[in-house]
Subunit: 362 residues, 2 copies
């Protein structure tokens, strides 16, 4: 593993943590205000009030931190910019709400997924009709609200109209890529085994761009950074986004549910054509390929099958190879930052974030 | 029925029709471009390419026409403003896509609903996994894309940033009210029989504001109309929106499926607490109340039950009363317009639109 610790890392880490704490507070307060504005006194007040502010404040705010760091590459520390960055967490929560419905995932951030919480509320209150369907509909609509509120949080951040107009193309790109990426993912079935290039393409469009590159470019555009800075951030974001997703895919197979907060092997159960599965298929020998075809063909992927999947994937060498890919990408990301001559604090923060994205255990 | 035909009505109707034709072309072209931008060459290209441009161009563009007429209360005819108005049709299509999934509606605009079209594509291509689930997920994501693209169509309409910034609060209000209204609707079950005031509240928040009032105010805000014009449009929009929904609710029960393009009695099947049902409950005598309770308590609402519903509703006098309510509201809407001293063309167009919203058969 490339060592990415630098002398100024502790200070940058502390700065990121304190920015994140403030941003989390902003996000929670904004949604609390919206719930009050739109739901007070209505029948639907109770589930919305209790659930939403905590739901939106429960994540790592990775995208907001990239956006704020991007801002700091060209602008001074600013409460308004931090609020503008916070909108990306609401946008992310929109995606999570819809994702969990579509994937039928029961857990999110160590809590029952939003649709599950709404379904429970429906049951506890003895409402008629199928509770699961109610939960899914409520979660889809909650996602819709969050997508709209995200943008409102941006527009009401306190940044001036010109700054927001400057960042709008990348903001729209980010949002479109997110929805389109999910759509492409739907028709992407592990049993059809896409090629490694296909997987990289989906990663770039979906998680990679969405998690690192576009948030950074968005923050930098808000601040009016010169094009060469945006380009350097684009290189860093592109390769680090891939590394982020490789780590995510490894955790999806080998992660500890007690730490990740998600059931073990969920990606395998859902037959996602993740980087680790596709790389394993490309690296497999004849016998392994046969075994892999057998696992892909199972109608039900139970715990025993997950165990066999893990052994097989490890045998192909794909996990080790992915670790090397992660390592190389982190190195290239850091080089891009070094060459760009960024201000000291955001440069150090980007090094810390590169570590957090790729060394994480959840 | 109040006669709303005026001497300048034919000219205004022709102007509305030609504006709508151009707007429909704009909407279709914008989505065709987005599909090309994001889907060309991907596995998901085929369903997206064939389905979306026609889907978004298949409606009456009522909200866009209100928005453009609102614009014309303060601005000159403008291709850019017409494109900005067109964004509301994309927003509407977002809502339809999600709505049909949540309601399990199989038909929309005389075509199979989007989720049904996607499910069929999934089946025809022999993809594995449940086709219905795929269709629903694809439709939810399509809705998400349309919500994002709607705003992009607004921002790229060619109107200047200041105009768009002026209209943003009402735009955000419109979008939030839409999602929140749907959410409130979810917990609104006919078997709990809300009061007439509750029904009016939901109508105002959901369909009324969303269909007439906010689009008008949005267009007027884009054009920078003075506050007294926006206020008059708000009055017109508020009462006409209610009348629109009353007509919609009557069509939902008594409409001809061959004309409406929706199965007869869908609202009754879904136990929606619509204006006609709630008003009937308030007007019912003792015997009718008993019969109504019996119908509300049915687990399955079949064609025979729909027939009994129709007879019962008519017996209570609720449909006739609603016709009177529609009439009175149209009259108040037209008065508000007469008093506001609007330019001749939008004033005449608003009178024509009042008729189209409330005399329609689909």
């Amino acid at each position: 593993m490339t060592s990415i610790a630098k002398p100024d890392a502790p200070e940058a880490a502390a700065w990121l943590d304190s920015s994140r704490r403030r941003c989390r507070g902003d996000v929670r307060a904004f949604v609390t205000d919206r719930v009050r504005e739109y739901f007070t006194g209505r029948a639907s007040e109770i589930p919305a009030v209790t659930v939403l502010p905590e739901f939106v404040a429960g994540g790592k705010l990775l995208r907001s931190m990239f956006a704020y760091t991007g801002w700091c590459c060209g602008g001074p520390e600013s409460d308004a910019a931090l609020r503008a960055a916070g909108n990306l967490e609401l946008l992310h929560c929109f995606a999570l709400a819809h994702d969990d419905v579509m994937d039928g995932s029961a857990w999110r951030r160590k809590q029952p997924a939003l649709h599950v919480q709404f379904a429970r509320w429906h049951e506890e209150h003895g409402l008629r009709g199928p509770a699961a369907r109610f939960g899914e509909s409520a979660a889809v609509l909650t996602g819709d609200m969050l997508l709209v509120w995200a943008e409102r949080m941006l527009c009401e951040s306190g940044l001036d109209t010109a700054a927001i107009a400057r960042a709008r193309p990348v903001y729209d790109m980010l949002r479109s890529e997110l929805a389109v990426g999910q759509f492409c993912d739907l028709v992407n079935d592990a049993r059809e085994l896409p090629s490694w290039d296909d997987v990289l393409d989906v990663i770039r469009r979906k998680s990679g761009n969405y998690t690192v590159r576009r948030p950074l470019e968005f923050g930098a555009a808000l601040a009016g950074c010169p094009q060469q800075v945006i380009d350097a951030l684009g290189v860093y974001g592109g390769v680090l986004g891939e590394a982020f997703q490789f780590r995510d895919d490894l955790l999806g197979v080998f992660g500890d549910p007690a730490v990740t907060g998600k059931p073990a092997g969920d990606d395998l159960r859902e037959r996602k054509a993740t980087s680790v599965v596709v790389l394993a298929a490309e690296m497999a020998d004849r016998r392994q390929r046969g075994e892999l075809a057998g696992l892909l063909d199972l109608d039900v992927v139970d715990d025993a099958a997950i165990g066999r999947w893990r052994v097989l994937l490890a045998e192909t060498g794909a996990p080790d190879q992915l670790e090397k890919y992660i390592d190389a990408r982190v190195r290239r990301a850091l080089e891009a930052i070094d060459l760009a001559g960024l201000p000291q604090r955001p440069a150090a923060a980007l090094a810390v974030l590169a570590g957090r994205c790729t060394e994480r255990v959840r």
